[in-house]
């Protein structure tokens, strides 16, 4: 790894979605962080369901799958394998929503309340008890804390001259974030078209070495910032584990 320090700079920042630039890392390390966010950060998700009554139009296992996909808020004091019990009791006519789930830990609740689980008609009823387990994304996608996590190179635009006088007005599309005199400019600012930003100029696009723009979204189980920090912690833990193993 390079001797220079890492440098992190946010472009957009939100609880659910963020974009940030990390400098002085290698592509391998960037991918390591991405994979850790997906696979190595455990989150709570419903894993087994005991049905007391289900007279809805869906089978028990279909409903269990839907419940498993509902994101639950994950406090940081849970260890992998720990469980939380949730209950749901809804009578038709009406719709059972994720928000109807009642948890035995007030810190664990559905991250989104408006997800329809099943529509119930007259005399239909759904009553169940479910166990949410702290599990890893590598075992099941419902435990992934991050969705659509990706990165790309930070890019720099060099003006190499004027465009030819009678050249066609063709758009020059570029998506991502560009660096301009040390400023970070998302390409949506100029409609992803470089001819809007540099009219009448001929430009070349170049990758900034060692700088990556991460785009991270969270499913709501934890804020993006925490997801990234926990992912990096798992990498640190792995490195420590390796060091221990080598010393023995």
């Amino acid at each position: 790894m390079s001797s220079q320090d890492f440098d992190v700079e946010f472009v957009d920042r939100d609880d659910r979605e963020a974009r940030f630039v990390v400098r002085n890392i290698t592509p391998a390390f960037a991918n390591g962080v991405r994979r850790a966010m997906l696979a190595d950060v455990p989150t709570l998700s419903i894993d087994s369901v005991r049905f007391v009554e289900n007279s809805s139009v869906m089978f028990d296992e279909q409903l269990a799958l839907r419940l498993g996909l509902v994101p639950l808020t994950t406090p940081d004091d849970y260890e992998a394998g720990e469980t939380v019990t949730l209950a749901l009791d809804v009578e038709g006519p009406g719709t059972a929503y994720s928000g109807d789930l009642v948890s035995n830990d007030p810190e664990v609740e559905p991250a989104d309340d408006n997800i329809p689980i099943i529509e119930l008609k007259d005399d239909q009823r759904l009553e169940l008890e479910a166990d949410a387990v702290m599990g890893y994304g590598r075992d099941h996608a419902k435990h992934q804390g991050g969705v659509a996590v990706g990165y790309r190179h930070l890019q720099r635009i060099n003006v190499v001259g004027d465009s030819p006088e009678y050249a066609d007005d063709e758009p020059r599309m570029l998506r991502g974030v560009i660096e301009e005199d040390g400023e970070l400019v998302p390409t949506d600012d100029f409609d992803n078209d470089l001819t809007n930003r540099y009219p009448g100029k001929e430009v070349e696009v170049e990758d900034v070495p060692g700088a990556f723009v991460f785009q991270v979204e969270s499913d709501g189980s934890m804020p993006v910032e925490e997801l990234v920090l926990r992912a990096v912690d798992t990498l640190v833990d792995r490195a420590d584990e390796l060091e221990q193993a080598v010393q023995l």
Binding site: S55, V57, M58, Q62, R66, L69, V70, P71, S98, A111, D112, D113, N114, I115, P116, I117, I118, E119, K121, Q124, A141, Q144, V147, A148, E217, D219, G220
Partner: protein, 66 residues
């Protein structure tokens, strides 16, 4: 049958937007342009947009055969 909880491709939770999308763009009363509604709801990627655009509620159709 029921709207999928998450997008099949990327895993974003799309189910929570269904009822608003249906009220504003899918039903006869809602006559807004579906594209505008999806933009408004923050469903940006085309993988997630197709989840809502192509969904059909079937609970009413199957419930008589229970």
């Amino acid at each position: 049958m029921m709207v999928p909880v998450r997008c099949f491709s990327c895993g974003t939770v799309v189910g929570e937007h269904w009822e608003e999308f249906k009220a504003r763009a899918e039903s006869h009363e809602g006559d807004e342009d579906p594209a505008d509604v999806l933009d408004d709801l923050g469903v940006d990627r085309h993988c997630c947009r197709r989840m809502l655009i192509s969904h059909q509620d079937l609970v009413d159709v199957v419930s008589p055969y229970q």
